[in-house]
């Protein structure tokens, strides 16, 4: 295998990992604030549909991506109103969001089925992008890939280096105590939910604007759920999340390659691989967790009504 072939595989893996990274980093912030939003899949698919529609209408990938993020944000606002504002059950609300998002995306996307547009442009730096072995990998990706990695760094910095991040983690750890200190529990949780929604929407728009690039109903194919699993897999840490996403992206790519090479396994078995891998990862993580303390935000998924 030549160096360029290795690079080609790595590029594919990174491309497959990017939507997972973007969606999961958003959900990571949401969960760090103590909220479990199961509606990632719904927000993501809406982002894909709205992003593609907006890009076709305006002819701009950037506006498409922004519209996609906006769509996710809008759905997340509904979720936030229900769970943070009204203390409704988070699991059920997240599922409602998933179904609503799937339906809405179909409605928005219907006129755009079968249309195609050029994928988001890739970075081209003379000399650097043509470097053998690493040029395409490091200097030849599209903006989403860099945005995903930049987001991860930014979230990591925010959570551990800023006062806002400290308050967010504190709220996710104990909402009663932080409320008693007068910290804005619900306000911050709502903002975190909105951020998570925008990220999910952006991840969806990456699929329809750069990855495929076209719109097809239900094109997220469970990536939103994988992103949720990924947050747990990464034990709520951004750096591990990137590693996990590359692992998961790698599994997807492996499945495609193995299918092409027809290694004798039925295609369905390979398609099931990422899902089985998620379960295995969850099991392994729980085995590791038994020795130490709980890594999960302690208030995760619990309703909060300020006592007054």
């Amino acid at each position: 295998m030549t160096l360029d072939m290795v690079q080609m595989i790595l590029v594919t893996v990174l491309t497959a990992a990017t939507p997972l990274i973007i969606a999961a980093i958003g959900e990571l912030v949401v969960e760090r604030a103590g909220v479990l939003n199961l509606g990632v899949e719904g927000m993501m698919i809406c982002g894909a549909a709205v992003g593609f529609a907006a890009a076709i209408e305006t002819g701009s990938t950037l506006l498409g991506a922004l519209a996609g993020a906006g769509a996710g944000l809008g759905l997340a606002a509904l979720f936030g109103l229900l769970t943070v504002g009204l203390a409704a059950n988070q699991v059920a609300s997240g599922l409602a969001l998933t179904i609503l998002g799937l339906g809405l995306s179909g409605l928005v996307g219907a006129p755009y089925v079968g249309l195609k547009r050029d994928p988001a442009p890739h970075l081209e730096i003379p000399v650097l992008s043509d470097l053998p072995g690493i040029g395409r990998l490091l200097f030849g990706q599209d903006a989403f890939v860099y945005a995903g990695l930049a987001l991860t760094c930014a979230v990591s910095w925010f959570l551990w280096r800023t006062r806002g991040g400290l308050i967010l983690r504190a709220i996710g750890d104990d909402h009663t105590a932080t409320h008693a200190l007068g910290l804005p529990v619900r306000q911050l949780r709502f903002l975190a939910v909105l951020f998570g929604g925008a990220c999910a929407g952006l991840a969806g728009s990456y699929l329809s604007l750069a990855y495929t690039p076209f719109w097809a109903p239900a094109m997220t194919a469970g990536r939103g759920w994988i992103a949720l699993a990924l947050v747990v897999f990464a034990s709520w840490r951004p750096a591990r999340l990137v590693a996990g996403a590359i692992l998961f992206g790698g599994a997807t790519v492996l499945q495609l390659h193995a299918q092409a090479a027809s290694i004798g396994l039925p295609g369905q078995a390979l398609s099931a691989l990422p899902y089985v891998a998620t379960i295995v990862a969850l099991v392994l993580l729980s085995l590791g967790r038994r020795q130490g303390g709980s890594l999960a935000p302690a208030a995760l998924g619990r309703d909060f009504t300020p006592h007054r």
Binding site: L166, D173, D174, T176, A177, T178, A180, G182, G293
Partner: protein, 532 residues
């Protein structure tokens, strides 16, 4: 750090109080928690706010800290009306708070917990320096990088105090600050508080511990039923006169009537623990080490100790919610029961009342009759062919309500709608009506009004008189000295030797609670209280 330089000392006489609260009314729906309360706090004084649970202390305190806004009334700062819309607003005015149930995030470090309430633009190093300086001034030392869950109650309170002092407060509100401390830790706290007072700060000291109030405070405001019922100088009052103001005359009479009518007759041994050891069930829990005791029929055996020293774990081991490694570690009426579950132990004639009413002894969302089913379905024939006999459950609940005078609204209300005292009477009554041979009660009157507490204690005494063995786990020394025949102390998961109540003193027990083995050996008679 001191504010004495910039603020007038109390003697120098600004006639206006530092903070005043006038005509404070707080309603929650139909319930009036605070009814036209007036309170003035002056610089350089430790002002006691006395009252029983439910007297309205917590509500008033939350209003002063900006957590609640009053329905009516005003708060003033040096005569000017101020609005305390949030704790941040209160902190800006120089009001700080040390919470009873610490408002700390367990999985964050000490430094992070302190940084939470500090304003922007304070670097980590600067903060660490200020904390260190404070530690030197007041003797409050903190290990900044440790996660809070690994700290003791005393250490946690130190964080609260440091966090409060870093804001250089003019008024410090302390809510039951000694409730979780050992006597030694409490002494250290008092020293800090006196020093703060001498610096010219005001302290609002909320407590129902009369001795502390008499030692520390120059003025006291007494609340009962949401109203101010008196103000005095506690140093000139006796504990008895303060208590009378706090609980009111009628209740005091009942308390006296319930005074110990104990029967020291030694029946057969009905509950026995034999070298019970259990590992700590979690990060924040305490393991049990080699605990042995025996309780005879007719005896009330008291276990004293400060919360978090293994009480919940011991209760779980007794009830069967946690199983012992060997059958013989727990014996109920002679039957080895260490590995039996809670219902098997109930069938042996044992009954249990856990500390937490809401969510442990009772499910707050379920009705009283369903809560009767909760602990009695295995022993009171409340089911037939797997179906719940609802009429029988209602009848059982009605008997408990009748026998223990449980006040409620509606025919079969949800347990969560009852007041603390009434729900406690219900859960204690539910078990006592089973006429258990062995009863284990954890904090029987915690957070319960005096009348209900008296009734519950009397019921325990009466049950013992009928020949049952009763084990009472309590933090309340007054309670143990009132009802228990012998007392042992649970400290860091080990149980001290039991001594007859008549042969020990509060001081001796208090020292044991703090981990000091002080009782001279001669004072303990082997087997006198039937402890092994």
């Amino acid at each position: 750090m001191t504010i004495a330089a910039t603020e007038p000392t109390p003697a120098s006489g600004d006639p206006r109080p530092l903070f005043g609260a006038y005509g404070i009314v707080k309603r929650f729906g139909a319930f009036i928690a605070n009814d036209r309360i007036d309170l003035e706090i002056r610089a350089g004084e430790i002002h006691a706010l006395l009252g029983e649970n439910g007297a309205g202390k917590s509500t008033l305190m939350k209003i002063l800290y900006g957590l609640l806004e009053p329905t009516e009334g005003v708060v003033t700062h040096r005569g000017e009306t101020v609005r305390l819309a949030s704790p941040e607003a209160a902190r800006r005015l120089g009001i700080g708070m040390v919470f009873q149930h610490f408002s700390l995030c367990e999985n964050l470090t000490v430094a992070e917990n302190i940084a939470l309430v500090m304003g922007k633009g304070l670097g980590r190093r600067a903060l660490a320096d200020r904390i260190a300086a404070l530690g030197r001034t007041y003797g409050l030392h903190l290990d900044l990088d440790r996660p809070v869950w690994s700290l003791s109650a005393g250490e946690r309170q130190r964080i609260e105090i440091v966090r409060c002092l870093l804001q250089d407060p003019k008024l410090v509100i302390l809510d039951e600050p000694t409730s979780v401390l050992t006597p030694g830790e409490a002494e250290n706290l008092f020293a800090v508080l006196e020093r703060l007072r001498d610096e010219g700060r005001a302290l609002l000291y909320i407590s129902h511990r009369l001795d502390e109030v008499r030692r520390l405070c120059a003025r006291a405001t007494i609340l009962r039923g949401g109203r101010v019922v008196g103000a005095c100088d506690p140093r000139t009052e006796s504990a008895g006169s303060l208590a009378a103001m706090m609980v009111g005359e009628e209740v005091r009479a009942l308390t006296r009537a319930a005074a110990p009518a104990r029967s020291p007759l030694a029946g057969p041994e009905r509950l026995r623990l034999d070298r019970l050891s259990l590992p700590a069930p979690g990060l924040h829990a305490t393991g049990l080490r080699d605990i042995s005791l025996g309780v005879r029929g007719g005896e009330i055996f008291g276990i004293a100790g400060i919360a978090g020293n293994g009480q919940s774990e011991l209760f779980a081991a007794l009830s069967g919610e946690a199983r012992a490694p060997e059958d013989g570690a727990v014996c109920i009426d002679g039957t080895p029961a260490g590995r039996l579950d809670i219902n098997a132990r109930r069938r042996l004639g044992a009954a249990f009342v856990p500390e937490e009413r809401n969510g442990h002894a009772a499910a707050p969302g379920l009705s009283l009759s369903e809560n009767a089913v909760l602990s009695r379905y295995a022993t009171a024939s409340l089911t037939r062919f797997g179906l719940v006999r609802r009429a029988a459950a209602r009848a059982l609940a009605a008997r408990v309500i009748e026998a223990f005078d449980v006040r409620k609204t509606g025919p079969d209300p949800a347990a969560g709608t009852l007041s603390g005292g009434n729900l406690q009477k219900f859960v204690v009554g539910r078990e006592i009506l089973a006429e258990p041979g062995v009863l284990v009660v954890d904090q029987p009157t915690w957070g319960v009004d005096a009348a209900a507490a008296a009734r519950i204690r009397q019921a325990l005494i009466d049950l013992a008189a009928r020949g049952s063995a009763i084990l009472v786990i309590s933090q309340d020394l007054d309670e143990l000295f009132a009802i228990a025949g012998s007392i042992a102390v649970l400290q860091a998961g080990t149980l001290s030797r039991a001594v007859p109540r008549a042969e020990t003193s509060r001081e001796a027990v208090g020292l044991l609670m703090g981990g000091h083995p002080v009782v001279p050996p001669g004072r303990i008679r082997e087997g006198a209280a039937h402890a092994t």
